[in-house]
């Protein structure tokens, strides 16, 4: 009868070996499945479940599956149970190369723990060789029911690389022979003690006073304090600490030849913050660095150069790739204020990144970018409008539109010239934006520039131009009348004609009156377009019933062609009726 108190191996070896062979084969296959597929894949789950079932039953029966690891084999109770000489795929070799010599699965193992075991192997297998160490990984996991053994010799060999270990010499003769003559005070202390044996306890009590102060158990609140210190240090955000330390090191470093390499540390710290979506912290990091730069400028220009070079490098492509990734993967989870803060902190690169985000964003998400861009652009428009003007790109219309919109809030000849440039833009969006902006400027030049838009290829823009233009002088009027010549009108659609007529009908000027008189002279016969133009003119004059237009309508009613009379009469009737009402 097996001993009740001990759960140990009680298997019959021969039967067990076959079972273990199958089990180990399944172990390696499950491991392969973990390497090929992600852990949640059905194949992996199936392999794991099968292996787990078999292993569980084996462990229930035997307590432990204890495998010895050879270079390319697993051994169980002195017998090879698996062999794979292909070092690229061999699981035993994978273990062996890191010095693992023994691997044991114990009763109590759970499927979760087993899955973690395979995931750990997978994780290590995909690491670069320099960083891969299965023993370290197992050790750190601290499995409950999987144990392993890797001898110290492996690590010692890695360190010594054939060299002897430093030798510590002990002179045994000196150690165990000769005499120690105690000094007077020490000898006396012992003698005094021996004489006053009764007071031994008192002496211990004296020491206990010290002990109470220094060695006494910590009180509960003191434990809690320690636990809270540990906890708070566990919570310390590594990225923020890295940033802070980098600045401190830079502040103190006096090995100037190290500085160029140290720039890489600054980038690492900065990128770490960005990768973790800590834009406000990244902004603070840049601001601190900028403040340090001011301190260093006259004191340690070498450091200043490093900071400036670092800041300049932020504009580089690899940063943009990172920014883009964060922006698009965060899907709005990051606060707009933080983006704003960050882009403001990094200065010009912020504008470049924003421009690129505009270029890469689908139209539907542009409005959220606008919220970030607006204050930044306003700041730049205030401080360096010229820089902003240079950033307009035909190929990035939404971004350029924001720049135009922002700059339009400012007045001045430079802005007018800037806006004038868009008259030839290939992007209708930009031409329209510039047109709107020009209309808002309190400048005669701007108004004249708008005239140019009457020739725009886009009807919409031309209509807008006609609607917004304010005729300031005769020359402008002449220009408009020229554009509105019957010949040209015939090429235009109704809404543009309406817009032009509205603009003219609201302008009181003999030239306008004359213009309409000429319009009403247009022959209708076989010219339906002319008829339409004339009728539109009457309609528009009716809408703007100023004295000039009334006179004109009356004049046509009296002197005009027969076909026109009734329309003018009707129009005047409606005007009168409106007035009566």
């Amino acid at each position: 009868m097996p001993n009740l108190k001990e759960r140990s191996f009680s298997v019959e070896k021969n039967n067990s070996w076959d079972e273990v062979r199958d089990l180990v084969l399944l172990l390696t296959r499950t491991n392969s499945a973990f390497k090929i597929f992600p852990p949640e894949h059905a194949t992996v789950k199936q392999f794991l479940a099968d292996f787990w079932e078999r292993l569980k039953s084996f462990l229930e029966k035997n307590g432990c599956l204890d495998l010895i690891i050879g270079e390319n084999y697993f051994e169980y109770m002195g017998e090879k149970v698996f062999e794979d000489a292909d070092v690229a795929h061999s699981l035993p070799f994978f273990f062996f190369r890191d010095g693992l010599q023994r691997l044991s699965f114990h009763r109590g193992l759970t499927e979760k723990e087993l899955s973690l075991f395979f995931e750990t192997i997978r994780e290590v297998a995909f690491r670069p060789p320099d960083e891969a160490d299965i023993v370290s990984a197992f050790w750190e996991k601290n499995f409950e029911n999987i144990t392993f053994y890797a001898p110290d010799e492996f690590i010692i060999e890695k360190i010594t690389r054939g060299r002897p270990l430093p030798e510590y010499e002990v002179n045994f003769e000196e150690l165990y022979s000769g005499k120690i003559e105690l000094a007077e005070e020490d000898r006396k202390a012992i003698e005094d003690w021996q004489l006053k044996t009764e007071s031994q306890e008192d002496s211990e009590k004296e020491k206990t006073i010290f002990l109470e102060e220094s060695l006494a158990d910590l009180k509960e609140e003191e434990w809690r304090m320690i636990e809270s210190i540990i906890h708070s240090h566990r919570e310390l955000p590594q990225d923020e600490e890295l940033g802070r330390l980098s600045l401190e090191i830079l502040y103190l470093e006096d090995r100037f030849d190290h500085l160029p390499s140290f720039k890489a540390s600054l980038h690492e710290a900065h990128k770490a913050l960005l990768k973790n979506g800590k834009l406000a912290k990244a902004a603070a990091f840049i601001r601190d660095l900028t403040s340090l730069n001011k301190i260093f400028a006259s004191w340690q220009p070498q450091k200043s150069a490093v900071i400036e070079s670092f800041l300049a490098e932020i504009e580089q492509d690899n940063y943009f790739a990172l920014i883009k990734e964060i922006y698009f993967s965060s899907s709005g989870s990051l606060r707009k204020e933080d983006w704003l803060d960050y882009f403001l902190a990094i200065g010009r690169p912020g504008l470049i990144f924003l421009a690129s985000l505009y270029q890469n964003s689908p139209q539907t998400t542009i409005s959220s970018l606008d919220e970030i861009a607006k204050p930044i652009l306003e700041k730049w428009a205030e401080e360096k409008p010229e820089d902003l003007m240079k950033l307009v790109q035909e190929s990035n219309p939404y971004w350029s539109q924001m720049i135009i919109r922002t700059l339009a809030l400012k007045q001045g000849p430079k802005i007018t010239t800037f806006l004038a440039g868009f008259i030839r833009s290939s992007q209708p969006l930009l031409r329209r934006e510039a047109l709107d902006a020009l209309a808002r400027l309190d400048s005669p030049t701007a108004k004249k520039i708008i005239l140019g838009y009457f020739h725009d290829e886009d009807e919409e823009i031309r209509v807008t131009a006609a609607k917004i233009i304010k005729i300031a002088d005769d020359s402008m009027l002449d220009h408009v009348i020229k554009i509105a010549s019957p010949l040209r009108l015939r090429e235009k659609k109704e809404r543009e004609i309406v817009a032009i007529f509205e603009m003219l009908a609201s302008t009181i000027h003999p030239k306008v009156k004359k213009y309409f008189q000429e319009i009403f002279k247009l022959p209708w016969f076989l010219k339906p377009k002319n008829k339409k133009i004339c009728l539109l003119a009457i309609e528009i004059l009716k809408r703007y019933p100023n004295a000039q237009n009334r006179d004109l309508l009356k004049e046509i009613m009296v002197k005009g062609r027969r076909q026109l009379k009734k329309y003018c009469q009707q129009a005047l009737k409606e005007i009168n009726l409106k007035e009566i009402i």
Partner: protein, 480 residues
């Protein structure tokens, strides 16, 4: 079909953890009481009743197992994390079970109190696993089952264990020396190896802590900075373990302590070893080593994955608790926990080491006393107290005069805080002062008749005054 069982809630896990910790603590009390009194003693019975109740509560439906894996306790599949207040109990129970190669104890639902009492009595009597098994068999205990540990190797002999520990110690020295002396440290630093080394050191600390502490008495071997760094690394890991840091944290703490003085590579040797008081400009050079070290480690971080905490420690290990010290940057802020730990250990090892500029080193107990006197300005007061608790009133390696006239070397502290003054000592000189290869005696041992302690420490002695090199005694056991 395999049935998946949903994971227990955090609340349940916490309860199991609490029960596990209490079981260890009560188990420890019973082992202590069992050595002093009969199992029928009232105190023993009181503790037994409490332990029995706790176990029964946890094995009502199915067996409850207490496991030891790689120096860690698991109770009902929950890893038990000790806090330093329970450390002595954890340490003692771990030692007692490991000594007898017991890896698993399963308590079955039908367990009776009398079985538990007999089990503890058998455990106290048994020297090894087989003896315990035979005892349990004889007493017909059926509701407590044990399993033998399989994960440990054959390093069971003390001498063999010590030798292995010493080999790792000197390997660490060589590894650090490689990093310090390499023309191109980028090539020399093999952090994977360093991590593995830290794991090995941790394992030796768990298995053989007293000897590891003994080895930290090795001073000025080869280069001071290297030797010092290894000692600081070992004691820092041990202190971190007392604080309940997890494995990864301990590895990072070890690496941080290992490289804490890395900046001294840049400090000219003539300044480091100047046998006189340093001039202000020389002191300024010395005081650069924290940020030189931090700067170099920061450069390595990207290439080699140096933990951030190592940079903290290199930078801050001379910053005092009141934020004075060096280096001072543009902003005062409290140092990292790891820096506070390393600062304590660094200070202790430094002042207990003889240097050209410090002809007389402090004895280990003097050092602790001095550190206590520094007050809260220099060290974190609670961390310092835990360090002192860890080292004991007479730290391992202290030379002591006994009331018998013998001279002893402290080789193991007493895990019971009440018996801190009664460590285990190796007798190195008899009552006539004759140097001998004496036995290791437990100062907690009492005369069975008079109930008086057999030996008591009268005072600590300065080893240097008597040409005693404590480290030699520890190393002797590995060389003989």
């Amino acid at each position: 079909m395999n049935q998946r069982i949903s994971a227990p809630s955090t609340e349940i896990l916490r309860e199991i953890h609490q029960a596990g910790v209490e079981i260890i603590v009560r188990f420890n009390s019973l082992l202590k009481l069992g050595r002093l009194y009969s199992v029928k003693n009232v105190l023993f019975q009181e503790q037994l009743g409490l332990l029995y109740k706790r176990i029964k509560d946890n094995c009502q439906e199915e067996e409850a197992t207490l496991k030891i894996r790689e120096g860690t306790f698991f109770f009902r599949n929950v890893r038990l994390r000790f806090i330093f207040a329970n450390y002595p109990a954890f340490k003692t129970v771990l030692q007692e079970l490991t000594k007898r190669e017991v890896a698993v104890i399963s308590f079955l639902p039908e367990l009776t109190e009398s079985e538990l009492e007999t089990f503890i009595a058998c455990l106290l009597k048994a020297e090894g696993y087989n003896q315990l098994l035979a005892g349990l068999d004889e007493a017909q205990i059926v509701h407590i089952q044990i399993e033998k540990g399989t994960e440990r190797t054959s390093l069971t002999g003390k001498k063999e264990k010590d030798r292995a520990t010493a080999r790792i110690y000197f390997s660490s020295l060589l590894h650090l020396k490689d990093a310090f002396e390499a023309e191109d440290p980028h090539q020399a630093l093999r952090l994977n190896t360093t991590r593995r080394l830290m794991q090995a050191l941790f394992t030796h600390i768990v298995d053989n802590e007293a000897f590891v502490f003994g080895l930290t008495n090795i001073k000025n071997f080869d280069e001071y900075t290297l030797n010092h760094s290894i000692n600081v690394c070992l004691l820092s890991i041990a202190l971190g373990r007392r604080l309940g840091l997890d494995r990864n944290e301990l590895i990072e703490l070890g690496i941080s302590a290992f490289f804490h003085d890395f900046g001294k590579i840049e400090t000219p040797k003539e300044i480091l070893d100047k046998p006189a008081k340093l001039e202000p400009h020389e002191r300024a050079v010395i005081e650069k080593h924290p940020y030189h070290g931090a700067g170099t480690l920061a450069l390595w971080r990207e290439i080699k994955g140096i933990p951030l905490r190592a940079i903290h420690v290199a930078m801050e290990h001379h910053i005092k608790e009141d934020l004075s010290g060096y280096p001072q940057t543009f902003k005062k802020r409290p140092p990292h926990l790891f820096s506070k730990i390393v600062k304590i250990v660094d200070y202790f090892d430094a002042i207990t080491t003889k240097r050209v500029y410090r002809p007389r080193a402090f004895t280990r107990e003097e050092a602790l006393s001095l550190m206590m006197d520094q007050g809260d300005k220099e060290f974190h007061p609670l961390l310092l107290r835990i360090f002192i608790q860890m080292m004991g009133f007479y730290p391992i390696g202290s030379v002591v005069a006994l009331n018998t006239g013998e001279i002893g070397l402290v080789v193991e502290t007493n895990p019971d805080p009440a018996l801190t003054l009664r460590p285990k000592v190796k007798i190195i000189a008899d009552k006539n002062g004759q140097r001998i290869d004496g036995p290791v005696v437990d100062l907690a041992e009492k005369d069975p008749i008079s109930q008086r302690y057999l030996r008591t420490i009268v005072k600590g002695l300065d080893p240097e005054k008597y040409n005693i090199r404590p480290a030699d005694y520890f190393m002797a056991s590995t060389l003989a």
